[in-house]
Symmetry: C2
Amino acid sequence: MKELSELMDFRPSIKVVDATLRDGGLVNDFYFPEGFAKALYEANVKAGVDYMEFGYKADKEMFDVKKFGPSKFSDDDYIRSVVGENDTDLKIAVMADVGRCNYKADIQEKANSPVDLIRVATYLHQMPGALDMIEDAKKKGYEVSCNIMAISNSQESDLKVALDLLGKSSVDVIYIVDSYGALYPEQIARIADIYGEFAAKYNKKLGIHAHDNQKLAFANTIEAAGDGVDYLDATYASMGRGAGNCAMELLLGFLRNPKFKLYPVIKFIENHMNPLKESGVVWGYDLQYLMTGVFNQHPRTAIQFTKDKRKDFSAYYMEVTSQE
Amino acid sequence: MKELSELMDFRPSIKVVDATLRDGGLVNDFYFPEGFAKALYEANVKAGVDYMEFGYKADKEMFDVKKFGPSKFSDDDYIRSVVGENDTDLKIAVMADVGRCNYKADIQEKANSPVDLIRVATYLHQMPGALDMIEDAKKKGYEVSCNIMAISNSQESDLKVALDLLGKSSVDVIYIVDSYGALYPEQIARIADIYGEFAAKYNKKLGIHAHDNQKLAFANTIEAAGDGVDYLDATYASMGRGAGNCAMELLLGFLRNPKFKLYPVIKFIENHMNPLKESGVVWGYDLQYLMTGVFNQHPRTAIQFTKDKRKDFSAYYMEVTSQE
């Protein structure tokens, strides 16, 4: 049983990472309303959030800049247009996917960039690519984290090899990522234990990025926090792909560090997230995501179900289970 | 850390209690569409649910029968009109609130009733009333459970006195109830530990009834299940007062006893719960409930906020915190 002090007191090493523009951008092709990013930045500063993820560093050879909003590419100039010189305690993050980022050209030296943290996202089979990106970013002067995605479908022995490779790399933070929203808190505790062994051995920090397919994104995030995981991803109103993420408003309601403020989060949701939802942008927990979560599948068929505005959940159940 | 076997295997003593008509009825004054209760009963039978709660046994001197649907009063005749002689493994439950139930007159001998389980609901200060109802129901031949409500606002020492009184009574099951949706899984683990001491000493079973104010109803329910709690309340599509309850579809997706089937639950939600929601009946997690949960308050102001169709969440935040 965890210590009560974990709830009543706080661990200063816990960092909150706002992923709204990045994971949220996956549901609207990164087209946020005028002024949204700036207002979000200001809300994050007021709320005491530690990192704000601006989006992906997507390769412009692969993705048409005319078909996505600016957070798909997160150019330094775009970020500067929002944060200026960013004279705040809020750090700026961007995500770089292995195989979809021309990182040698598109990621500048840290000295010339408003970005603080490069978040490398990888599947297990792409580890050498991830390691090259990690060393590139580190050499340029950034903090670097690495998300190993889709671990609920991976072999524990493979995962341990990857964790050992990351341990030996320059990465600062290793993320537990429940891409399919398939994991229960008990499993998060066990996984945090495995990651924790490597973190202790190699002096790395840990993070968690959860999905809400089974309404467990927040529960899994605080479970991980209680297990020693320090970097906690969240999004306003849970905005994110499919079922969405751990809600910022739940997370800041839970954390006891007095630097965190709930009110600016509520205010931002009222003024920006709820209007976004009312404008027709769709995300969040629903039965189709529950099903891919329960059956530990990629949410892509559930996302299609949502796009098609289908309501025949029982027929979809048959489709999902026929893929088993 | 809990045993992996808790996830992979199952504990046959775990019982699932469907509370849709009772807790769900609180949001529509128990006016469910024609055929709803019967279809729900059939879904529960197919899904392997153990108990179906039909509603309250409300005192007709206190509540006008013309202002509520039949599940407010749960007359035996009404229940029989749905379940006939109930030749199934599904047991029938009703809830009786201390101070709002004319139990001596309105609860018949078990031999003449389709009801199996009487669920007594009490606040700590009403314990003598609860004990009288428990003994009355037990003498009439029923299984009896007792919900101690609003424990997140109670003193632990008072709670222990109540648990000792219940231990010495004829009650079969003692329920952990998070009325305000204020508790985190770590706290549930500690509370289950306290309840567990009394359960072991007096040979009682334990149950849990959770609310979804912080999207933790399911997480808290499976935390409790892992801590030895056997009776798990859930409602279809989380229907229940305010933020609602632990979702039946999440719970049956989690439990590994092969007698539980998810498909009939999905089917019922598609055919009955989603149309109910589309007809304008409102329940479920939202920011106003998060706030009463975080600040450990009764949800009544949040329910009023919902009824008034207010959207000024930041103003409501100021109202909630001014009550601290």
